[in-house]
Amino acid sequence: MLTIFSLLPLVTLLVSLLILKQSASKSGAMSILVAIVCAYAVFGMDVHGLSIAIGKGLSLAIYVLLIIWSAVFLYHVVHEFGAIDVINRNIVLFIKDPFVQFLLLSWLFASILQGISGFGVPVIIVVPILIQLGFDPLKSVAAVLLGHSWAVSFGSMGSSYFTITLVTGLDQQRIGYAMVVFDCIAMLMTGLAVAYVYGGFSSVRKALFYVIPSTAVTTAVMMLVVHLDLVSLVALMGALSGFLTMYLLYRLREKPERVEKLYRSELSFADALLPYGVIIVLSLLFPVLRLDRFFLSFSFPEYTTSLGHFVQAEGAYAKIKWFGHPGPISLLAAFIALMRYRQIGIYSKDKLDTVKTQTVRKSIGTSVTLFFLISMALVMMDSGMTAELATSVAMLTGGVFPLLAPYFGVLGSFITGSNTNSNVIFGEFQVSVAESLGVDPYIMAALQSIAGSAGVPLGPTNILMGASASGLAGNESGIYAKVLKPVLLTAAVLGVANYLMLSIWHMHIGG
C-alpha cells in the first residue's frame, strides 16, 4: 500500500504533463501538493519534517537557478551584441553539411561543455546556436538533451563520479573503469538517437560512419584518463577527442574547401568566442587555485519520520562555491565580454537593458516550476517514499534485477533532474542489491551512474531549461515526447549489458 502512495506524486506529474498536457508549472504545483499530502498523511512526516524537506528543496532550487539565470544572461549578452551570429556563420564556413553540424554540435560540442561546466549549460548554449542555424527548435532541444547526456556522469568536472564513489564507499578508479564500459554504450546510443531526431532511420544509417569511430576513440581516451586518475577531466578529454575525430572524418569524407578567411562583423571570431573561452579557462583554473573555502551553503537538522525513516543532518547543503559554481563563472564571462565590447565600441546601455529584460522574462517561469519540482523530490526522499519505491521494485524483480537496474538510475534523474542526486538516492541501494545477489558491486555502481546520466534528459529541470532556451516554454510535453523513447531504449540496452556482465558472464571488474 505504501508503494502505491509513494508512486502518486510521480504519476500525478506524468499524467499532468503527458496526458493532460498541462504546463510544467501547473504539473509541478499539483505533484508537490500530492507529495506533501502523502508524506504527511501516510509516511508520518510532520510539519517540522516538511519544513526541512521543502527548505532543502528550495535551497537546491536556488543552486540550480543561479546557473539558469546566469547562463540565460550570458546567452542574451552574446546574442544582443552579435557574437552568436559571428559564431554561427563561422561554423557554417567550416562545416557545410547540416546533418554534420547538427550531430557534431548536439552530440559532441555539448558534451565538451558538459565536461567543463554542465548543470544545464550545454542546453542553454547549444540549443540557441542550433536554432540560429535554422534547425527546428523542438528537434534542437531534444537532440542536445539526448546528445550530451552520455557525458553527464563524468562531466561537471566529475561531480557525479565523485558522488557515486562517496555514497557507495567503493574504490574510485575501479568504478571509473566500469563506468567507461557502460558510457561507451550510452555514447553510441545517444549519438544514434541524435541522428534519429534529425531525420529518422536514414539519418541513423548515415551517422554510423561518424558515431562508431568517434565513440571508439572517446572510449579509449576516457579509459586512459581514468587510468591516469585525472578524474575531473574524463568527460572533457573524451568529448574533445570525439569532436576532433568526427571533424577529421568529415574532412576525409567530404573534402571541404579550405577556409581562407573567417567571417567577422564588428566582432572577430575570437571576440565572439571570448566568453566561452573564459568559461573554459576559469573552470580549469579555479580548482587548481583551491578557492573552495569561499562558498555559500545551508545547514539542516536531522529528522526521523513517525514510520522510522531517518534523514541525516546536513552541514553544508547546496554548496555554492563562488569560485567553482557555473553561475558565478558564467557571470564573470559575461562581464569580461561586456568589457571587451565596450573596448571595441559596440557596447550600449540600451542593449544591456534588453539583455536584463529578456533574462528575467525567460527565467522567471522556469524558476517557479523548479521550486515546486525540486521540493517534491526532497519531500519524497526525506519522507522515505523514494526508498519505499526502490525496495518494492527490487523485491518484485529478484534475479532479473540487473536487467532493470538502469531504470532506477533513470528514475532518480527523472525525479531530481540530476545524475548526482540520482546517485545519492540509488547508489547505495544498487550496491546493496548487488551484494545480496552476489554479483560485482563495482559494475552495479557504475551502471547506476551511467543510467542516471542517460536519464538526465527526462529531468524536469533540464526539460525546463531546454524549453526556456528555445522559446518552447509551455510545450514541455512535446519535448518529453521526443526524448522519452530514446532514453528508455538506452536504459534497456544498458540493462542487457549489465545482465550479461553480471548474471551470465559473472564478470568482476572490481577484482
Binding site: 508549472s25 504545483a29 499539483m30 510539519v47 519544513s51 537538522p301
Partner: protein
C-alpha cells in the same frame, strides 16, 4: 487578486520569502514559523495548480 497571483514575479518573490521563513524555522528553531511557512508554500502551490 487573481491577476496578482498569476504574476510569476510575485510568486517567485513569495517563494523566496517562504524559503527564508522555513530556513529560519529549522535553524533558530521556531516551529510556528515553520508551520506558517509550510502553509504558505501549500497555498502558493494550490493557487498555481488552480489558476
Amino acid at each position: 487578486m487573481r491577476k496578482l497571483l498569476s504574476n510569476q514575479k510575485v510568486i517567485f518573490g513569495l517563494v523566496l520569502a517562504v524559503f527564508l521563513a522555513l530556513y529560519a524555522s529549522v535553524t533558530i528553531p521556531a516551529p510556528q514559523l515553520g508551520f506558517a511557512g509550510v502553509i504558505a508554500f501549500v497555498s502558493i502551490a494550490l493557487t498555481q495548480a488552480l489558476l
